[in-house]
Amino acid sequence: MIELRNIKKSFGKNEVLKDVSVSVNDSDVVVILGPSGSGKTTLLRCINFLEKADSGILKVNRDVINLKNAGKKEIQDIRKRVSFVFQHYNLFANKTAIENVAEGLIVTKKMKKTEAIKIAAEHLEWVGLSDRKDFYPSELSGGQQQRVGIARAVAMDPEVILFDEPTSALDPELVGDILNLIKKVARKGIAMIVVTHEMSFAQEVANKVIFMDGGYVVEEGRPEDIFIHPKEERTRAFLSKIVPLEPMYNI
């Protein structure tokens, strides 16, 4: 279980997160929606310390960590248990696909190289990229790179995976593949927090939707409540812009 309490974060004078609290149960799929600049990505990045929050508490199962003054050890410990999938994949450019997946296992999980490679191969197969295991990122398409990114995240056997707009940089025709793969991750029972603009994905997969705007959580609830009966005017306005009126066209 992951809980975030009273997270605040500013970049200079720009207050991005004003006071955000979120909780995620085991095997929850939480989708965060919101207009750009609402702080979704920053929230995600604060969870595994890619950004340092100005204040706030992070609870991962029994561990309680102060986001502001966590020590190096604590941060590395959290990062081992919380994986991250990036919008721009961020595969290690000097490593092959399989090495990308094995890297964390070898360096931070202290596995033997042969064992790590074996696990990495299994995960590459699981994402359907066995035949590309010796390819470098520059030789892979965007969709393939993101598959490796997801394999890298899952291979760490994390308690939660954070997805930061995992399909935003992809060709439209590849988006569906990656979303299906993320569903497959969800079926594994790993908890995840997904920042996305894919409404149909949110409706189908999420068991909790959070709508953020202006550095606050405006509304949260089950997808059917948020999408069909949003309580807040702001949520309604946002959804009416994003969800097409004709459901036919909403692929």
């Binding site: 990062r79 520059s138 030789e139």
Partner: protein
Amino acid sequence: MGQIFDIRLIPEYTVKLLSGIPTTLLLFILVTVLSLILGMAFALIKIQNIPFLYQIVAILISYARSVPGIVQLFVVFYGMPILIEEFTGVNATLWDPLLFVVIAYTFNTSVFFCEAMRTAIESLDKGQFEAGFSVGMSYPQVFIRIILPQAVRISLPTLEINACTMMKETALAYTIGVTTDIMGRATILGGRSYHLLEADISASILFLILNFILVIVFSRINKKFFTFKRKESVAV
């Protein structure tokens, strides 16, 4: 002494100057290795913006960039023994001048290596660091395993140019009494026979060949270690 310029002497001198290659190569390799280490340290100091050390590196960089190589060599050769004697009481004036050549050129070259590597590291996508952090790696682990190989790849052409420049500039060592390298030998050979120009042309030939080899070595290193593509796809 017959003609002023005797072209027939050139092959003979070229062969004789071969005996200078070991010293020139030794200088080159020592300075390159030391400069890589020191240059990386300088680059890290600049990137991490470590107070005090940052200022020292900044001063060194301006010094190496603006002061002519021969002046740097003289300052090290005549200045360092005084400093050493002042602080340790050891008389360094009779130490092998090669040592001072190595020190002077390492200072100079490491500064250029530092700038090449610093800019390469800064040109890398921030996401490379973040990806490393996201799987729980520490800064040094990310730096060594992920960042450094990519930075070397990017900076390799600049490192190569600076290394080539350094190799030929080591010829200045003869001005402080080094006689065993290519230029030292050429000076002696030409001075004795009054055929200095022939000796210099022979030295030119050797430096040309050395540089040519160096370029090939660098391109091999680049292909073998820093391409980050499968072998089959590189061959295409």
